[in-house]
Subunit: 251 residues, 8 copies
Amino acid sequence: MDTDIRRLLESVRRGQTSVDDALMQLKTAPFEDIGYAKVDLHRKLRQGAAEVIYGAGKTPRQIVGIIETMRKNGQDRVLITRISPEDAACVAQCVPMEYHEDAKVGIVGGMPEPDGIGRVVVATGGTSDIPVAEEAALTAEIFGSEVVRLYDVGVAGVHRLLAHMELLMGASVIVAVAGMEGALASVVGGLADCPVIAVPTSVGYGASFGGVSALLSMLNSCASGVSVVNIDNGFGAGYLANRINHMEVRQ
Amino acid sequence: MDTDIRRLLESVRRGQTSVDDALMQLKTAPFEDIGYAKVDLHRKLRQGAAEVIYGAGKTPRQIVGIIETMRKNGQDRVLITRISPEDAACVAQCVPMEYHEDAKVGIVGGMPEPDGIGRVVVATGGTSDIPVAEEAALTAEIFGSEVVRLYDVGVAGVHRLLAHMELLMGASVIVAVAGMEGALASVVGGLADCPVIAVPTSVGYGASFGGVSALLSMLNSCASGVSVVNIDNGFGAGYLANRINHMEVRQ
Amino acid sequence: MDTDIRRLLESVRRGQTSVDDALMQLKTAPFEDIGYAKVDLHRKLRQGAAEVIYGAGKTPRQIVGIIETMRKNGQDRVLITRISPEDAACVAQCVPMEYHEDAKVGIVGGMPEPDGIGRVVVATGGTSDIPVAEEAALTAEIFGSEVVRLYDVGVAGVHRLLAHMELLMGASVIVAVAGMEGALASVVGGLADCPVIAVPTSVGYGASFGGVSALLSMLNSCASGVSVVNIDNGFGAGYLANRINHMEVRQ
Amino acid sequence: MDTDIRRLLESVRRGQTSVDDALMQLKTAPFEDIGYAKVDLHRKLRQGAAEVIYGAGKTPRQIVGIIETMRKNGQDRVLITRISPEDAACVAQCVPMEYHEDAKVGIVGGMPEPDGIGRVVVATGGTSDIPVAEEAALTAEIFGSEVVRLYDVGVAGVHRLLAHMELLMGASVIVAVAGMEGALASVVGGLADCPVIAVPTSVGYGASFGGVSALLSMLNSCASGVSVVNIDNGFGAGYLANRINHMEVRQ
Amino acid sequence: MDTDIRRLLESVRRGQTSVDDALMQLKTAPFEDIGYAKVDLHRKLRQGAAEVIYGAGKTPRQIVGIIETMRKNGQDRVLITRISPEDAACVAQCVPMEYHEDAKVGIVGGMPEPDGIGRVVVATGGTSDIPVAEEAALTAEIFGSEVVRLYDVGVAGVHRLLAHMELLMGASVIVAVAGMEGALASVVGGLADCPVIAVPTSVGYGASFGGVSALLSMLNSCASGVSVVNIDNGFGAGYLANRINHMEVRQ
Amino acid sequence: MDTDIRRLLESVRRGQTSVDDALMQLKTAPFEDIGYAKVDLHRKLRQGAAEVIYGAGKTPRQIVGIIETMRKNGQDRVLITRISPEDAACVAQCVPMEYHEDAKVGIVGGMPEPDGIGRVVVATGGTSDIPVAEEAALTAEIFGSEVVRLYDVGVAGVHRLLAHMELLMGASVIVAVAGMEGALASVVGGLADCPVIAVPTSVGYGASFGGVSALLSMLNSCASGVSVVNIDNGFGAGYLANRINHMEVRQ
Amino acid sequence: MDTDIRRLLESVRRGQTSVDDALMQLKTAPFEDIGYAKVDLHRKLRQGAAEVIYGAGKTPRQIVGIIETMRKNGQDRVLITRISPEDAACVAQCVPMEYHEDAKVGIVGGMPEPDGIGRVVVATGGTSDIPVAEEAALTAEIFGSEVVRLYDVGVAGVHRLLAHMELLMGASVIVAVAGMEGALASVVGGLADCPVIAVPTSVGYGASFGGVSALLSMLNSCASGVSVVNIDNGFGAGYLANRINHMEVRQ
Amino acid sequence: MDTDIRRLLESVRRGQTSVDDALMQLKTAPFEDIGYAKVDLHRKLRQGAAEVIYGAGKTPRQIVGIIETMRKNGQDRVLITRISPEDAACVAQCVPMEYHEDAKVGIVGGMPEPDGIGRVVVATGGTSDIPVAEEAALTAEIFGSEVVRLYDVGVAGVHRLLAHMELLMGASVIVAVAGMEGALASVVGGLADCPVIAVPTSVGYGASFGGVSALLSMLNSCASGVSVVNIDNGFGAGYLANRINHMEVRQ
């Protein structure tokens, strides 16, 4: 953005751009206002190769509107998270969208070839954590990462995890998804030597308090190299994992 | 206690005990009132071989008074928990008491020969959990259990724990003491097949919230056979471990 | 498991097992991967006589699949917890399963003869706590314990509890199930001299906070020998009670 | 107060009081403003026979000032709560005050003859609850109640409580003071048929959370006739107990 | 109950009752066990003139069963709380029961003549608090208190409250029912000189946290003579108010 | 109100009003009691130009009743908040009411001409915060403020906010509505120099805890000039914004 | 700031400022970096007439350094909050500062003449709330408001508050400071028709939870026109009160 | 580690290692047990170039012992976190250690040359967050990262942050350290396109709840690419930042 400002200032200095126009550009360029949303069009340049729509609380009509604004501006690949099967069916009537029911994720424009520096491993403690894990995996994939899924390897049967040591040791980034006591992140963090992104899930009952138990457990991890995202935030973890997995490429 | 009532009723029926005396006995027998405390003298019969004094909030003078009331009534072995070094020094001037500074525990009457059905393993996640673990270990020992200590085997280095599989598999009861994310209980619970008593500790900072993180983690353990006591309650865990370790003997 | 490693190493040393095979065995033996779950087949050897499926969040089809994998591997007795009447009806069409609606528990393979060292008493504070208590009782029974049910003996009418002193004094283990103020665990813990497993329930309203009040109450029990499991975790309590009730047998 | 307004209006109607004077009286009568406090002088008429000063956060000088303003206005009996030994010593140099160190309570003007309709029983679960209990007992006494103290009768040894059934059954009001799991209130509430005022104390550690566990337990009491005051609020309980104990007198 | 024991012991001494019979009587007398509940039949003698059934979580069939057991034992007046309109309709088909939909309360046996020492005032902060207030009012009435309702007098319009000063000053007991910030209890407590029972309600949104805000506010009331019951516990408040309102009669 | 009392006292002094009448007036004037509510009729004089009905928990019939009582007393403009589309449809059959479905707000009597000292800017962090923002905006408008809406300017794209600096700098009051991390209030507070009213919303999931995260964030704002209202309390913010926006007019 | 950008752009267009210089100015103008702090020098222009230093966590040396940087840049009037008596004494040796021990506030440059549109009333519930109230009052004064203090008018004696109706009705803004149940804000909010800023204080004990009880109470205020700042944040309230009190002047 | 097992198995197969020796090696290799700690010596190989000692709760003697064990085993560079100035002075008498008082960090063996793929930017919201930030910066440096410090750029003055856009855009990883409302992470996350590690600090008062406010804010960040570590966990953030900053090198 800094370069943009400099370029604009140069243009003003050369008299190619009037002051009023420059002021206008500084203000309006980065997004298009479609009433119920300000669609960020600079974001692809600034932050990655695909755009994301958080589907919860938006009508299918609004989602379609945002997708179309994006495509109109050259953004062909779109990830829609937290979209219900019913809404997805509505959207799919207007836009070619592939829907993953487990993860409640819709994908427009298909998956790219992976071009990261390694593989992202997405692991879960149990079967019930899979929807969140899939949200993470699909997110990493749409941004260009190869993902290996390693599900139901919770710490109550630590041998299931040890059986995949090679996989863990070779990972570029690991996303550890777990509810209940959330200990997976610590054990994985102790075994592996790559960044570990922990995702607490709301799986559990009673004193799991909708994921708080797992969240606290992960924040207090005695293993180094572990950081945490919000409860059930598969998207956030997948997005960050992909970003880390593209470190060398972007430098 | 039921038998006592029956015996008393028989005595009343035979005219050996008057109604008023019987009423009095029903009321006053089980404890001696020494003003600031009602010392429970039936407890040895009902619940175990030693008596316990919770030292926190009691003056050395009160502690000595309770010990003396016990000894006068034939209770020679006494465990005093949560007693500061300063108070312990005061008490030790009046009563022969061995003091364990780490655990803040005083022991009157020495340790008995172990007579349990097996060994109690007391494990900790880190070095800072040792004081709580020692309270547990000493408690189990004074009630007659052999105790094996296994310290600093937290899950961030799960190989340290696996190196002691034989010990864990051979234990009669395991006491798992851990702060921070408290994952030790789940991993141990998954590896071992004996009862596991989890003790969350207040070790940690920030979102450990004085042991709440470890407590929730342990309550949500996905491993079966795990139960939990209060934060830092080494005594409670040691007491229960010993009780379980004497199951066959008492039946 | 340690013995298994030793045996494997011996076999390698004798040249009977190749290194690659040994490595493979170390990794794959303990479970069968059926896609949505890793069914643990060593668990019977390691931890008990029956296998458990946590039904919540699993489809009837998945449950049937796991049961069949188990039976194929010689595991005939299966406990399914937290399964709704509707799902239970589906499962029962494929597998002969007895369903207990109160406890939301399904049982495949029938109940074994009790072979524990004594009787497990399951007590509740009120009528509303019975579903959780039944989950505990059925769990203890399927693993081989004789269970006595003692329901609606809350502390607000302490005479109801005292009337069953003989039962409490003769128990091998007591499971105390209570919501609201959860005081049952403390009173029972003070009366009995066996291990007491406290189960807080979500019964109550307002400041019971879905079982938190009972949970805290039980964790703070001033009675010794009491430990706690998660809110509404009848299964965990029954499982642990049975384990303790088989202490002498397994030694 | 209503009567006062009527009397004042009558006086205005008869021309004996000017409108401005009436307005002034309506505003300034009920208290005297001494800068750092507005001393309520009507309160004796409206609410009881003694005045109370909450000592915490006030300097000895301020406390003396308030006492003197009261005495100047005919209020001879004063209760000062939460005053440290050091501050009490300072105050006692200026005003004849009896100090109770346990309860951190000062009393000016001595105790009155009890004139309530019965006896207030103040019971505690343990020894450490005594300071709060004493605050309650002294408060009830200074307002004119006879108080019976029944300390260290916690529910973990329910026989200690049953031994005093007569006392509990004959009480006019019971104040139940307990920390940790706070079950005393429920058990007492189930045994007695008079109003029970429960006082949670901050006694305990770990998951007692400074009295929250006892507070929740008492709020969720399954016994009828139990109400609760703030953690450690012995004064509030004693004040209310006395008020109830004077019901017939005031009607 | 003490007298009962004495009488029984006398009978044993005279040989009129055998020891076994006495033991049996000590155990079984106070309640009748009807499987899903232990109906307390001594309670009328010990605690009041009517019996209460907590309807939530009980089937209509169970409720009818308990009512019939009571009536069979001479308990004609019954209060059923927290019973839904649907369940009430079912019950009313078997037992003559008057249903108050607002309060979700059923009454069997009609209201008695009031015989308390004064009037119970039930006040609410707003219109939405009325259901809880009605539960309190009906409870006090069925146990024999005259009740005056004073609804929608919240502190944001303090003049509405002041307009009823006479009523408040003349009350025997005041039940203050309020949600949101719960300040009604403090203002009423400052104006009146009788016991005030505060009932926080779950009325509100956002940071009212289901009644926690009002609960904390009431526990921290700076007015003396205020005690608190559980959130939405109209029954508990009405029961206690009635008990206090019968102080002189029962002495 | 003070003036009213003075005028009344004058009237009493002159003999124009009897004492009893005066007493009655003091008590009954400020509201009309229509059974389920005490409609405040003095409020217009005391607090503003329109009256507000909190619709949640009131039946359409009750709402109509209150509106009619108001109109009968000359209060023509009424705002009804938190009224569902279904209830709104019912009300609209009896009273001419304009309904805003987004905000769940009904308006009787139309919008007045704005007469404030400036413009109120209502800004939101995201699209999902709009319903709460609309409640705020409509409230400010019905009381006479001009409102500018600035939606979807959350801090994750701070350039969207900076693009409207002129608007923010020229505002009389800013209402900042945001869920999730609620940072909008701080950033706006740092940029603008007018009072900022922060409204946390329950938008979010997981550790947003129904708006608690945003609430805490806003309370801890490091920017000066920011104050906070309850979660989702658009009405409160709009009401206060309007009040501030009329400061000069009312002085 | 917008104007600054425009002016800068004009200068660039005219060739008077080089592009690099412009870029530099855009970046460095608004503050001076003195190592441990970035002193904001534009703030006076943007936000008010005095600058504030948050003293907590800063050394006297750092505080002096910041003051001197300010004065060097023409900022003569400085408010230092949360500075201990010891640190204040140190600072006062280097800079002429008036210290208010109650409020822990230091003032450099003296108080200005009040020039607001009315008077700010600062009211407290009790004596212990005065330090926070003084922080608010002094803050409002240094920014140019006339302040009236009204202390110890808590709702438990609502007549003390009513006695000052005239003062409340005539206020421009009211700051309501209260701990414990925090009801003052609601009662004041119901009586007055100006903006009310509520400040919860940490005064209280037990379930006041360090001010949380008062905070929740204030956030849930049923009175309109009330907003809330952080616990003990007297500064924030005084700052905002002053800002509102200067509305007409700044327009 | 997998390779180690394979190598060991090969050695066993060739008869070069006996079974017992192999079993022993599997168990004891990775750490040295020095009584109070199990020093992990494989960690350098597995996880990084330096070893870390968590100083809190360890005596200077223990710290020296661990350092010496490390150095004896060839680990020359050691980071000691959370060590008080007093303890640091003790340690420095035995081992050459450089102490950073601000961060409470000790460094043995000096800093290495940076060899990461870019620069780590450590930013703070305020001056008081610097100690935590320094812990992060020094940690990243000792593991081989170049670190740029950007302190006191909180969002209440967002221009201070914008002035360093170039720095933020060019960073390899950003560590955002902030207390209070913790909004820095969101704003930075929105501006930058590299991984952002958010560190909530316990800076603040009142409703900051020791860092909980900032923690929740960061977890709920609406910016993508942000993950969170424990409150005040500067070490964890620095460690992870360095790991990410070495992604390309290690692949």
